[in-house]
Amino acid sequence: MSVILSLLLAIPFVGAIITLLMSGPREKLAKFVALVTTAITLIIALYTLTLGPSKYIDLDENFTWIKTANIQMNYALHIDGLSALMMFMTSLLVFITVIFSSTETDRPNYFHALLLAIEVGLMGVYLAADYFLFYIMWEVTLIPMFFMISWYGGPRKHYSAIKFFIYTHVASLVMLIGIFAMVFTAAHNGLANFSFIAVKNGFGGSALLQTAIFGLLFFGFIVKMPIVPFHTWLPDAHVEAPTAGSVLLAGVMLKMGSYGIIRICIEVFESSVLYNWQTVMIGLGVLSMIYGAYACIAQTDLKKMVAYSSVSHMGMVLLAIGCLSEIGIEFAVFQMFAHGLITAVLFMVCGLAGHNIGTREIPLLGGLAGKLPIWSFFMMFGFMASLGLPGLVGFVAEFGILYAFWEILAKMGGIYIVLIGLGMLSMMLTAGYYLWAMQRTLFGDTTDKIDLRSIHDVNKTEFIALSIVSCLIVLFGIWPSLATNVITSFSGGLL
C-alpha cells in the first residue's frame, strides 16, 4: 500500500508544528521551514498528478478508524482526476503564498504555521474518501483561517473573522445533517459505513427523501462557494484578510463548495433527483454571475471588487454543474482550476496595492502605469485573464461553460434559447468593470491624492510569485488539454 497521499497530509502537518514552535529569535527561520515543506509537498503533488489517471487507483489508502455496532468510520484516502487537480492547485497556491509572504514580520512563525495548517485541512478535504474524515477536514480549515483573519487582518478583522466563522460553520452543520441522513439511508444491515464507496453503493430511498437530503447538502456547499444570497460573508472576509489568506480563501477554499457538489451531490444521487434541482442550480448560478458582476461595478475598493468577481465566477461554476452534462462538469472543474490561478494573481496585486501604494481605493488612484510598470503589468494581465481574454486560461473555461449552457437550452428549444443572453450579459459586465477599473487606476492623469514619493514597485520575491502563476495561466490557456485530460478521466461516464 502506498503512503504518498498520507505524506501530502503529514508533511504540512509536521511543518506546521515545527514552525509553530519556532518562537523568539528563531522566528525568522520559520519562513524557510515553511518554504521547504510546501516545496516538498508541491513536488509530491506534481509527481502524483503526473502519474496519470490510470495509476491513481494504486494510491488508495484505507484503514478502519472507528468501528462500533452501528457505525464504521475509515481513514480512507483516494484520488481521481478531480481531486488530483484540486490537490495540485492547493499545494501550488500554498507554495506561492509562502513565497509571496516572505516579508511578513509580525510573528512570522504563527503566520506560516497557520498557512500550513490550512494546507492540511484543504488537502484532507480533497483527498478524503470517507464522510467522517471529509467533515473533520472541512472544519479543520476553518480555525486557522479564523485566526489568520483575526490576527493579521485589516481594521474590521474581528467582525469579519467571527462572521466568516459562524456563517460557514452553520452551513457545515446543515451539511452534517445531510451527511447523517445520507449515510444512514445507505446503511447496510444496520451498520452505517461512512466510506464514499459504501454510501454510493447503498444509497437509495424515496425520491422525496433523496431530494430533501440533496437540499441539506447543497445548502452547506453553496454557502461555502458562495452563491447569492448566501455570499455576504465573503466580501467582508476578503477585504479584511491578509493577502495570503485571501489567495487561499478564493483560490482553494471556495472550491471546497463546488468540489462538494460534484463529489457528493452529483456522484451519489440518482439522476432524477438531480433533475429536480437542475432549475435551482442554474437559476442560482446565473443570479450569482449577474449579481456579482453588477456588485463589482459599484465597488471602490479594488479588493472588494475582486471578491465580488469571485462570486460571479463561482456562479459560473454552479451554472456549469447545473447543466448536468459531461461537458458541463468538465468545464466546471476547469473553471475551478482557472479561477484558482487567476484570483491568486488578482489578490496578490490588490494586496500589493495596499502595501506598496498605501490604499486600494480606486478613486484615490490614477495614472500609475508609468510609476509602477511591473505592478501595472500584472494587474492588467490578471484582469485580462479574469475577463476571459483568448489565449489565457479563463477564456477556455468560460467558452466551455457557455457551450454547455447553450447545449441544454438548445435541447429545451423555443424561446428558452434567449436565456443564453444572460450568460453573455454577465461576460459583458465583467469586461466592463475590469476595463473601467483599469482605466481609473492605471491610465489617465497621475493622481495627486496620494503621496507618490512613498510608493514602490513589486520586489523580487513578489515578482517570482506573480510570474510563476502568470506563466501557468498562459500555459494552460494555450494548452488546456494538460488539465482537461486529467478531468475527462473523471467526468467521462460520471452521469
Binding site: 472507528i66 455496532a69 452501528n70 476553518l142 483575526s150 467571527i162 452553520v170 446503511a187
Partner: protein, 500 residues
C-alpha cells in the same frame, strides 16, 4: 465484553464486590479528618482522597474490563457494566475535583471536612449508579445533594456563596419532596420499590390513571432540578457562581450526571424497555420538548453572560438539553450517545472549570473581559481553554464533536433505519450548536485577539497544570480515536436495554 480474565476477584470478595468501590471511598472519607488531626497537612488529606478514589476506581475498572464479574449485593446494589461505567465516570470527576482543589485559593480552612464531604458526596453518586431500588436511589441522591449544599456554602467569607447555598437548599428540598411523592405513587400502583418489579407491575396496568400521571410528572420535575433542565434550572447559575470553582465543577460534571443516571434507570428500564407500558410515546414527546427548550434557553442566555462561571453554567444547561435527546429517542444507540456525551462533557467542561479555578488562584478575576491577552500571559492554559471551548462547541477533531456526532445522529437513525420522527430534534440541536459557537468563540477572541493592559506571565500551580493537561489529552485523544470509549458506552446502554 471480556478483555481480561479477572474471575479471582469474584472468589475473593464474593457479592461484596458490588459495593467495594463505595467501601473504599467511605474508608477514605472517614480517615481523612483523623489524618488531618494528626498531621495538620493539607496536601496529605488531598493525597489520601486521591488514593481512596484510585482504589475505588480499580474495582470499577475491573468490572468494565471483565463484565462477567458483575454481581448483585443483597438484591439492592447491582454492579454491572452500566453501573461500572458510571461509577468510573463519577470517580474521574472526583479525581479531577481533588486535583483542582490542591492549589485552589477559594477554599477556607476546613480542608479535611472539604475532602471528606467530597468523598461522601461521590459515594452517594456511586450508590445511585449501582442501585436497582427506587428508595436506595432516593437515599443516594439525597446523600449527594445534602453534602453539596454544604460544599457550596464552604466559601464562608463570601455572601454570594451563602446565598447560592440557601437557594440550592430550598430548590433541592422541593425537588426531593416531589421525587418522594412520585415514588410513593408508583409504590401504591405496583406494590414495589424495585425497578424491575415496578416495570412488571406497570405492564398490567390497563389505562391511564391519575396516580400514574402524577408520578411521572413529579419524577420528571424532581430529577429535572438535578439535571438543571429548563424550567427547573434557575438555581444552577447562582450555585455555580457562588461556589468555589472546584465545587462548581463537581456540581456541573458530577451531580448533574447523577440526575441523568436516575432518569435513564427510571425511564429507560422501567418504561421504555416494556414497550407495552401506557403513554411511553407521550413521555418521549415531553422529553423532546424539555430538551428543545433546555438547549435553546441555555444557549441563548449564555450569550448574554459576562461572568465566565455563569456562562459555563448556562452552557452546562444547554449540554443537558443535548443529553436529553437520548431520553426522547429512547433507542439503544441514542443512550450510547447520551452516555458518551456525559463522558466527554466531564473532560471538556471539567477542564474549562479547572482553567477558571487555576486563573482565580493566579489572581485573575472571573469576568470574561479579565481574560484579555491571556494567550500571551499563559499560553498553555489559553490553548487548553481554546480546546475545551471548541470541543464544547463540537468542532472536530475534538471529543465534543465525536460525542455530539453519535448523539445527534441517533435522532436521525433509529434501529438502523432513517426515521423522520426525531429529525427535527437533531436539526434544533445542530442549530443550537451553531449558536453556542458564538459565545465560545467570543471567549477565544478575548483570550487570543484582544490585548490586555498587563503582559506579565501568569504562574500556574503544578497540580492545576496536571489536571488541565489530563483533560486536554483526553479531549484530543477521545476526539481522534473514540472507538474504545464508544464500545464501553455501548456495553453500558446494552445493559439498560436488558442485554448482557
Amino acid at each position: 465484553m471480556k478483555m481480561i480474565e479477572l474471575a479471582f476477584l469474584n472468589d475473593t470478595f464474593g457479592t461484596m464486590l458490588a459495593i467495594m468501590p463505595e467501601i473504599m471511598l467511605i474508608i477514605g472519607a472517614l480517615s481523612i479528618p483523623g489524618l488531618f488531626y494528626f498531621t495538620k497537612n493539607k496536601n496529605m488529606c488531598a493525597t489520601a482522597a486521591l488514593i481512596a478514589i484510585i482504589l475505588s476506581g480499580v474495582f470499577a475498572g475491573c468490572v468494565i474490563l471483565d463484565s462477567t464479574l458483575s454481581c448483585t449485593f443483597m438484591n439492592i446494589f447491582k454492579l454491572d457494566m452500566f453501573a461500572a461505567v458510571m461509577i468510573f465516570l463519577f470517580l474521574i470527576v472526583a479525581f479531577l475535583t481533588v486535583l483542582a482543589s490542591f492549589a485552589s485559593s477559594e477554599l477556607s480552612n476546613h480542608v479535611s471536612e472539604y475532602y471528606s464531604l467530597l468523598l461522601i458526596a461521590t459515594t452517594g453518586m456511586l450508590f445511585v449508579a449501582s442501585a436497582n431500588n427506587l428508595l436506595v436511589i432516593f437515599v443516594g441522591v439525597e446523600c449527594t445533594s445534602i453534602l453539596s449544599y454544604a460544599l457550596v456554602a464552604l466559601k464562608k467569607n463570601d455572601p454570594r456563596s451563602s446565598e447560592a447555598a440557601v437557594k440550592y437548599l430550598i430548590i433541592g428540598g422541593i425537588s426531593s419532596g416531589l421525587v418522594l411523592y412520585g415514588i410513593s405513587m408508583l409504590y401504591g400502583l405496583t406494590g414495589s420499590i424495585d425497578i424491575a418489579k415496578i416495570a412488571h407491575g406497570l405492564e398490567n396496568m390497563e389505562n391511564l390513571n391519575a396516580p400514574f400521571v402524577i408520578a411521572v410528572i413529579s419524577l420528571i420535575a424532581g430529577y429535572g432540578f438535578k439535571i438543571s433542565a429548563v424550567p427547573f434550572h434557575m438555581w444552577a447559575p447562582d450555585a455555580y457562581e457562588g461556589a468555589a470553582t472546584p465545587v462548581s465543577m463537581f456540581l456541573s460534571t458530577g451531580s448533574k450526571k447523577m440526575g441523568f443516571v436516575v432518569l435513564f434507570k427510571i425511564f429507560i428500564v422501567m418504561f421504555a424497555v416494556e414497550q407495552s407500558v401506557y403513554a411511553v410515546e407521550e413521555m418521549r414527546y415531553i422529553f423532546a420538548f424539555i430538551a428543545t427548550i433546555t438547549m435553546t434557553i441555555g444557549n441563548i442566555v449564555a450569550i448574554l453572560q459576562k461572568n465566565i462561571k455563569r456562562m459555563l453554567a448556562y452552557s452546562s444547561i444547554a449540554q443537558a438539553g443535548y443529553i436529553l435527546i437520548a431520553l426522547a429517542v429512547m433507542s439503544e444507540y441514542a443512550v450510547t450517545g447520551g452516555i458518551f456525551h456525559m463522558i466527554t462533557h466531564v473532560f471538556m467542561k471539567g477542564g474549562a472549570f479547572i482553567v477558571v479555578g487555576a486563573l482565580i488562584a493566579a489572581g485573575i478575576k472571573e469576568n470574561i473581559s479579565d481574560y484579555k491577552g491571556l494567550a500571551k500571559r499563559a499560553p498553555i492554559v489559553a490553548f487548553a481553554m481554546l480546546l475545551f471551548l471548541f470541543s464544547l462547541a463540537g468542532i472536530p477533531p475534538l471529543a465534543g464533536f465525536a460525542s455530539k456526532f453519535v448523539l445527534f445522529s441517533s435522532a436521525i437513525v433509529i434501529d438502523g433505519v432513517v426515521r423522520t420522527q426525531w429529525m427535527w430534534l437533531a436539526i434544533i440541536a445542530i442549530i443550537n450548536s451553531a449558536i453556542s459557537l458564538y459565545y465560545y468563540a467570543k471567549v477565544v477572541k478575548v483570550m487570543y485577539i484582544d490585548s490586555g493592559e498587563c503582559n506579565e506571565k501568569i504562574v500556574i500551580k503544578k497540580s492545576h497544570l496536571v489536571a488541565i493537561l489530563l483533560c486536554m489529552v483526553f479531549v484530543v485523544a477521545i476526539g481522534v480515536y473514540p472507538e474504545p470509549i464508544i464500545k464501553f458506552c455501548e456495553g453500558a446502554s446494552g445493559i439498560l436495554f436488558g442485554k448482557c
